[in-house]
Symmetry: D2
Subunit: 376 residues, 4 copies
């Protein structure tokens, strides 16, 4: 019988990254999934590594995102060496387009802010955008240009984390149902599963939108909720875009071999993994408005992913308040791929008791809002 | 070595129907396909059996379509008994909606014409349509109601024809490349293939849009051309429609288990089997305009089929002018499923030398326009 | 908010059948599934309706199986009318082959037993089997011939039950996570779900192998366990078999259009839905031993299903011992399709308080072995 | 209308490589395919780059194979830069196992030969193989170790060639039927296609097993024939192999993420792309004999590819004897991936009139055996 130091429930990109990092540091890890590793939201993502386009620049989440993004370059080589998997890191920049005066003003402010803090992000006028990306229908209001932004293949990344963990000695128990936590004297000591009890010193719940279900069994309400996001992809004969094109409600990510990935709708409180006609209609209309040549492209497929969201939009990366040695890492919502690398390192630091940034500790704590729903 | 009486090139719904009928009558048939039977336009069709909604009521094609449609009820039982396959014949009627005064006038005339000839097709006012199909957004101009129209599962039908032929003793040679016709003294005596020569008294070319290629090898130009048609399907939780809803450029066919099939675009001169974004956008917009609840349905998949069209829009079902014992059955365009049953019987009659309707003989003859492109 | 009389957790063939029957009787039903309806073990089954080949003829399960089997003929018409779905009921008999003297003796006894009770099942000598099914490699020891046995399309059946329930007014909540039972004063009053609380007078747990997980949350141990079964299917050009061919560890079911379905391995305590190489090797070897022409057939696909098994091999179809208005219907193991029709009627009878057979009441009761695992 | 210098018929790995090289050198290239680029034999390959294990060391094909293999390292970077596609070049060596005294003797001779010519290939004793690859069931007779051998992802390579050509300015006409060659005064001047006539100074036929069909139309018999090869792939939880394992009739190639690819059967004269049960049984048995842990792996999928073979087993890479400016590149059989890089460079050299090795010119000429089958 397996006797890991750490059991991680959920083998998506978050659980996989934590497993990879902990196993690299020598921990004896058991990584579990109720189905196949990396097949849910992690696979459905577009893989953008964009922190500067959206986030509030003063928030701890922004600093954490920048921290996580910086890890990817080294990670690419590391995972390639360890697993043979190319995570397809592309860093050709992102354009965030202004489509009305309000957005224009906001993006100009953001550009100014970046300039002041010496970050690589610049305001582009209409003509500059056209010169850079002739296929875009710009709308004439300019946009923000973030040269360092890019993207990875999210499915390759998830697989590489899991394979990397396995090659570091982690045990992967897929298709394993977790029935409940094993709790002894206010301390978690493992999980009861369809494969029997797995005893371990620590349990990390990294089950994305499905974390809620597991924790409810122990009387814990996380207060996360699922948000369904729909995407589609196409093949174009020519390379229509060099950089990622981003607007509120629609982004277009140029992948290899003429493939473009378009996302994403947002339907809160839905676990339904099917794509609705209205979602496709709205995405196609928006994307074709930004990039008219997309209409000539060949449709490949559409899909949906179920992302875990929290009440305040910030992830939980934290120890549990009441149960010792229970840890949570979920709620990454639309930024799971971007935040995954940082989450692995951060959670490993937490478990090892290393010092971490105080503002992160506060911001990502479960205690900031968690309510214990006991059963009287 | 196989020595069939008749070699049929093309195992789609047309070739399959001819093979089924000829083998039922005792002929020794070899049915060939360059790939898998029934996987091209036959599988891509919606399966509508609608003759009265569109065709010129005085044309021989209309009488042939009605003739073919009448065969399906008996055929359903026959194929079920012979092969165990349910062709999913549904006869719950079709509504052809008027969307402007011109269409309204045309459909009213058509209704009058049907009334005079005692055919089952009636004009419906706005309220009557709403009563019959509450989910339709009618447009307020009424429509034509054809109670006898319906549809089949085109893939099941194609498979049943081929399986039925096989169970009648026909040989099926799939994945077989036809290199050329074997011609001796102005008579076709078989085909040269990747499986060697197949000698036979008759050769029937029923290769849909791919017939042109085969015949060009013998210096024959059919003057057919491919027309790509794109479709998509959805799943709705409730049964949104009872009858088929038909307009120019967009029809919605209610299949079993909440599935709706929506078709079809038309792109002439294309063999490209991929679906373009613009085709999906246009179909989705039209379909959602007719049936707003479609937006809530789950997208299943999209696909394209390559249909064979002729210069005058009429199929070729005929002997060849110059080469004895060479026969052609192609050019059925959007009506391949509807016309398949009749084509099987009619071509078998032609080969057996039975008497057929004189107007059909003229109308469907290759000689009405074929030009022999000899190589001087 | 939905306020059903009955909530059914699990929309497989068992939950679907109960939902269909209860809604037909006028109950207000809510049918829930954590994913898509009918996509797990129900879809993975071969669909055999064979009671006489295997079961202990004196057991209540045998009488229940015969009772369930008898329902299918009427059900076929009913579901076709109600949903347009053909469940593909075929009743061309089953041969259970003896492969050694022990099996021969057992089957001869069984044949005698059937003869005495005037049931349709007969001993066949070697030559008779060869005459009936020339493609079988018999082994020379004869076999049991059960003319009334047959099979359905399990996926069509599951879909038809669910669609039938919906057309009877049932609500289908798919992709809905059940977090826990709502328990008030020793009575179940609904379920807590990812779509909010669903209040209902009754809750029926019909979640197959996943029932255990749900019930553990309320401190109930069902003591069922998953048994993985692997299958594969092929296409043969000729119809190789008329009847189903059955041996211990390998059966071959002839479906329409030359398709043969071969099953099934048994791997206890596994939720893993992937097929292992060793499973395919062993199944292929056995099947090719019984039907050598299978080697020439084209491989279609392989798959696995996770069936719920109980300690004594009998299903639970019962009220819960301690919690009022909680009902269980699971543990049907390899006979889920065969028993589904009967289970729907029987569970509806139980809920309505109708009289049922006393031996069934005893045999299928949870109380025969259930242990309540409270949390001290 | 496109007016290319060179039209290439067939967008598999051979046509793609030629198009890539010619377009890199500045030629105006049109690359055509009757379906989708790279979807036939090129996609079905295992991607081994093994020249030293099999070929006659004195033959010009061996020197050409070594020449081609040497190109891949530079090509990997070039294609990655140009298209973003990683061809997944792995060079961890190959073991060719001796399974009987005859094979042992042959491989020992081969090892000696390599030693004399200072090539990197060595004889390994039983224990050395076990030390290197503990999971192999060796058979106790040692084997040949070729450290430089490896493999690529054949589908990625094919796509990268085609995408690279397109980014060099080549036109890709997929889903285009070629009806015939345009011949004027003994010179080929283009092709007649379903997209109209394409005029060009040169035509290169690189249609793999489908080349025969095209050339027959112009009265040319290539005398190639199709050989179907079946493969399957599995996922193992652990990395079972480091190097490629090769025996006559069965090889196992370790791909990334625990995937193993096993090939390949050989069925001459078949265009049938379906996998037969007997092919899978035989491959699985052999592979499990070599690597017993394979039985525990999860089956992924099986497939077949149709490879072009010639009478003497050598490819045609040559101008046509009778028709000026018609070129042929087919017949690469099981070595299409390995030879693709060299074929691109070699054919480009031929077309440009550069000097090439005299022995290659002779060996790969069509004239070595071609017979012109005129139509009297």
């Amino acid at each position: 019988m397996i006797q890991p130091d750490v059991t991680i429930v959920g083998a998506g990109v978050i659980g996989g990254s934590i497993a990879y990092e902990l196993s690299k540091r020598g921990a004896n890890v058991c990584l579990m999934d109720q189905g196949e590793a990396g097949q849910k939201a992690s696979k459905a993502a577009a893989g953008m590594l964009g922190a500067q386009a959206e986030m509030d620049l003063d928030s701890p989440l922004y600093s954490f995102a920048q921290y996580s993004k910086a890890i990817f370059e080294g990670l690419k080589e590391e995972l390639q060496d360890c697993t043979g998997i190319d995570i397809e890191l592309v860093q050709k920049g992102m354009i965030k387009l202004a489509r009305n005066p309000l957005e224009q003003e906001g993006l100009k402010k953001r550009a100014l802010h970046f300039k002041e803090s010496n970050e690589q992000a610049f305001w582009l006028e209409e003509k500059e955008i056209q010169a850079k990306e002739p296929a875009i229908q710009t709308g004439g209001m300019g946009g923000l240009w973030i040269p360092g932004d890019g993207h990875v293949n999210p499915s390759a990344l998830s697989t590489a984390f899991v394979q990397g963990a396995v090659s570091n000695g982690a045990a992967l128990l897929d298709y394993t149902q977790v029935y409940s936590l094993i709790v002894e004297n206010g301390k978690v000591n493992g999980v009861m599963t369809s494969a029997g009890p797995i005893k371990s010193n620590h349990v990390i719940v990294a089950g994305g939108a499905w974390s809620e279900e597991l924790l409810q069994k122990t009387g814990i309400q996380l207060n996360t909720y699922p948000v369904k996001g729909e995407c589609f992809s196409v093949f174009a004969k020519q390379q229509l875009l060099q950089s990622t094109l981003f607007t509120e409600g629609c982004y277009i990510v140029p992948k290899k071999a003429g493939r473009l990935l378009i996302g994403a709708t947002e339907t809160p409180h839905s676990f339904n993994e099917r794509v609705q006609v209205k979602g496709m209609m709205s995405l196609m209309e928006r994307a074709a408005g930004l990039l008219p040549a997309l209409k000539e492209a060949s449709f490949e497929k559409s899909w949906a992913g179920i992302r875990p969201q929290t009440a305040d939009g910030l992830p939980y990366m934290s120890r549990h308040r009441n149960l010792n040695d229970l840890w949570i890492a979920t709620g990454h919502y639309r930024n799971g791929i971007l935040l995954s690398a940082g989450t692995g390192v951060y959670m490993a630091d937490l478990l090892e008791g290393r010092e971490v940034r105080e503002d992160w500790l506060q911001t990502f704590s479960m205690e900031r809002q968690i309510s214990y729903a006991g059963r009287e």
